[in-house]
Symmetry: D3
Subunit: 162 residues, 6 copies
């Protein structure tokens, strides 16, 4: 069984992330979306909320791929891969500034445990998207529909309304 993992903070999932997850689901038997737990970072959504948002976003996507599972990971991603029988890490590349850091992580993960990283080019219409940019725009009341799944749109409104 060919398994891949899509790791990230997903605080929250954007349409750019979702596009990568759905495209990856066509290339592998199973895609595991791993929400990375990083306690030193302040997040808008809890890990459980982020997992629920991803599940709902995948379910509501027109393709609604059935071979996507969502989970959280703390510790080293390569350990997560070994335990789950995952051979590949799949990452979206938006721009050159992503590239250097991601290449270093990829080479480190290969050196640590022989796990391969496969980079997919982000859909150009989402190339300018990031979770932090979405949160910044939403905080000031800017319009982010079209940039995030509907379920996230609702979550962001609840958050700013509270």
């Amino acid at each position: 069984m060919r398994r891949a993992v899509c790791p990230g903070s997903f605080d929250p999932i954007t349409n750019g992330h979702l596009d990568i997850i759905v495209r990856a689901s066509r290339l592998f038997d199973e895609v595991v979306v791993a929400v990375l737990i990083n306690k030193s970072k302040a997040n808008l959504f809890t890990v459980d909320e982020r997992i629920d948002l991803i599940r709902e976003a995948v379910r509501s996507h027109p393709a609604a791929p059935a071979n996507v599972v969502v989970d959280s990971s703390h510790g080293l991603l390569v350990d997560f891969c070994r335990v789950r029988g995952i051979q590949s890490i799949v990452k979206g590349l938006r721009a050159v500034s992503d590239f250097d850091y991601e290449l270093q992580m990829a080479q480190m993960n290969h050196s640590l445990a022989g796990v391969e990283t496969l980079f997919m080019s982000t859909n150009p219409q989402y190339a300018f998207l990031s979770s932090s940019l979405v949160k910044e725009v939403a905080r000031y009341g800017g319009e982010v529909s079209g940039l995030v799944p509907d379920v996230v749109l609702k979550g962001l409104r609840d958050r700013s309304g509270s």
Copy 2:
């Protein structure tokens, strides 16, 4: 009337910023310098001090352009543009590391409100300049004359002397 905005933290304004502002003032009927208010960042100068330093630096520049106004902005830059009737954002590009982030912001601002961003290449002699580098050098008593307007030079000395 063709209006452009030069946004930034300007903590403090450098000769690189000033060069972009003066050059932009030749291409537009009015240039608005917008000091962006970001409360999560610790600044050396207050917003009012930064505005005064920019006004004085523009006034003392040999070209002393009369069509430059200075103001502060909180919230989304595209909202500031809509309220002021500004069609373009003007930014200086120093290096590739600026490029990716600025391109993402430009595409987001275009997507949010149809506001265009125009990038000008920084004067090569200021390509290595940034406000944070200037502050770091000044903090340790390094010589920054030639890198910032005279009024800022004085402001930095007052600050480190206090």
Copy 3:
């Protein structure tokens, strides 16, 4: 009168070029599209054909801006600007690989004649487009509708059919 020039080989014009031209036409009183004549390069379309394709593409665009004129230029672009009373060069930036070369040209043109270059970010959906890529795909019978104006689509078919 605020005039800008959009220079390029335009062999042929793509939807990415057209997008920049139309967006620039909203920021300046007149936009001159300059087809640069470079005899050392083998081109698919003659200079006159390229000019006609650009004129027709601008005319057929939904915005159909009336302040766009098309011409050819040989020699230095800064000389073209001086003769025409043009203050700014407008260029689309697609990616980092464009950036370094364009920055060098911009600084050279500023050093030679004080002409400013303003960079606009390419519409993300055209970020992967280039004239040479379009020609390569068309030569092998690939589908390029959606990537070039209709008039160019017809031109490419005539060319490959001959």
Copy 4:
């Protein structure tokens, strides 16, 4: 059946190429190495020679993967993929200068035919390797053992001796 293609000129195959091919062979059921025919480029080895060198290099590799086939392709790579039932293009990324061009090709191929491109990071010890650099060094009698498979080493010596 999950099939991927590793396309390239392979004039000649280097240890960097071979490393990508072998690693890809572990992630897919079948890996097709496609020698791209480009008549406008002067090559050192003929297409048939290049195919033979790749076959021999794969066979002599310690892993000797049995699921690698080698073929040539002219025309569009996406047509090759459709005919062969290939879902993914696999490419090695060495450096940022590769990145922009490859990203454009990936987005074009996705736009043309929905074929995905997966990028793998090149093994750091081969990051400086390219076929053209190897040929240049070999032409002047430099030592390239360790940089290319043994069968290529022999081929380069025969070539420079003739």
Copy 5:
């Protein structure tokens, strides 16, 4: 006497740093390794511990260069250079993301005091290495032998065991 300085945080020294120090020691009469003191950053090892780790790592290296001295620096690096009679700063470059920042620092240091910066390319096998990546991997119990000198390996284990 030709003296160069290798500055850095070295929290802790990696095999990538050590490789640059040893190679620089062959090109200059004396190489000073300067541990930069930055009080605003949280470090894993104290300045004195970092100095000891570097000294021991240099001593245990097969080349064991005798012309390497280790010291700490606070304040401006160019002041450190002037006091010590150092003409050149030597830095390893791993990737493009290093490049822009380092170039700005180099031009600032040249502008401040005429001190030259010489960049060496990092050994490709260490291109993905950084102190922070090493610390992150070690914190989660990942294997970092081969990435850092033995004395650092021991230091990291003591640290995570406490």
Copy 6:
């Protein structure tokens, strides 16, 4: 004796090249400027003319360093280094687009013969300069004084006048 080589086509030498050569002459006991002979490239000046232009430019420079010698090199640069007892290659880096290619060459030269490459940052005021840009501007009668040494200015005028 600490010797470094500054290699290049130098067709013709620019003020950017000259700046690197003079700065390198302060860091090494002898600097050898090596004009690389590349028969497959069409050049404006012959190898002997280029050597003479470099010699005259160094002699006329205010610093007039006495430890600079000029020669030509065909074949591999590392062979040139071995024959001359040169330990280091010195190159100017202007921009990121230089970086990747130069890094590959540096790593290849280190792998081939243990020769180190030291990169110096180009003086920002010459960051946009290249021999080919200078030739293009001069061909169309543009003003290049200030960009090249006086002796080259004269050479370019003689050339375009013939």
